[in-house]
Symmetry: C2
Subunit: 201 residues, 2 copies
């Protein structure tokens, strides 16, 4: 018997859950005991879903989004506008933009953002792959949909320099006040930028 757990198998299961981010030992124990109350088939399928996902899921060879195939459903969709590439940080951002149903172009998933503080440089991201996509021709516009942070700013600056040699329009998503937000509660920098970036009605 271990010092703490009545069962070695329980201890291993708790360690497994505890290895996930944001799940402490107490929650891990609660999850393991929850698992014990579920039908064996359900638990087998739970484990299978996760290991199968890790084994089989791919990165799209074009845009680097998560995909079940070598080329993802967005890149292989003939109805999407292949002249526009929207550059995003990660998979969640693709999902967020897709949910708006306002965008019909392609994506490019950087896999992170340039962050000297976190030791992430251009070489850690899919920047070279983006340059090659643009250099290959056929792209008219690259939209940068990156966070309004210092790291986002750095990455936008780096990317625009990299894409400068090519005949492509570079844009960035608008920053300004949120829809439904009261002017008086908007921070000054955002409000100032929303005035500078005003659009014609």
């Amino acid at each position: 018997m271990s010092n703490d757990y009545p069962s070695y198998l329980l201890e291993k299961a708790v360690e497994a859950f505890n290895s996930l981010p944001g799940i402490g030992r107490r929650t891990a124990l609660r999850l393991a005991l929850h698992i014990l109350r579920q039908p064996k088939d359900d638990v087998a399928q739970f484990a299978e879903s996760i290991s199968h996902f890790r084994e089989e899921v791919k990165r799209c060879s074009v845009c680097h989004n998560i995909s079940d195939n070598d080329i993802c459903d967005i890149c292989s969709n003939p109805n999407r506008d292949k002249t526009t590439i929207c550059v995003v940080q990660n998979v969640q951002d693709v999902m967020a933009i897709e949910n708006t149903r306002q965008y019909n172009g392609l994506y490019h998933v950087l896999g992170g953002i340039i962050s000297p503080m976190d030791g992430i440089g251009p070489g850690d991201l899919t920047i070279e792959e983006l340059v090659q996509r643009v250099a290959a021709g056929g792209v008219k516009e690259v939209i940068m949909a990156l966070s309004s942070t210092t790291d986002g700013e750095t990455t936008r600056f780096f990317l625009s320099r990299k894409l400068e040699p090519y005949n492509v329009i570079i844009t960035t998503i608008a920053s300004g006040i949120s829809v439904g937000e009261e002017l008086e509660y908007t921070d000054e920098i955002t409000l100032g930028r929303s005035i500078l970036n005003r659009v014609k009605l």
Copy 2:
């Protein structure tokens, strides 16, 4: 492609995590993408730990605690005092009492508590098994280590009635003020009971 996820495999992994208590869809997605960044072997082991735990772990045939064998390490330990049984609600309670290192008897895990509100009756718990253990003889004392709640009270009352016919001392863990707690912040019921249950110095 699903409406929301770029990959069917990702969707299945998110659903798996989302099926756990207290884990919403957003956290489930974060966990799935975390899994994607781990080495394949680690993820395979993660899944294996959980399914193996569910497949192989047993309930001790004596005390109903979680165990790797038919009889758990506590029940099969020759150094434990077999004349004393401590009745607890669940596995966590066994672990909590073991951690105090103040108890050297055996346990009996009820698997819950009588709770008319939650529809849990005596038949849903291992009460009959406890009565049989006591009826078999050799037990001198049954300690009830149940919560100080109405349900705990109900269960204590029911158990003492059930064990009445047998020649066994029935005790309950002391309720009173917590160690380190200030008298003035202790609730009145707890303080009142601590006076009634005063012990000789």
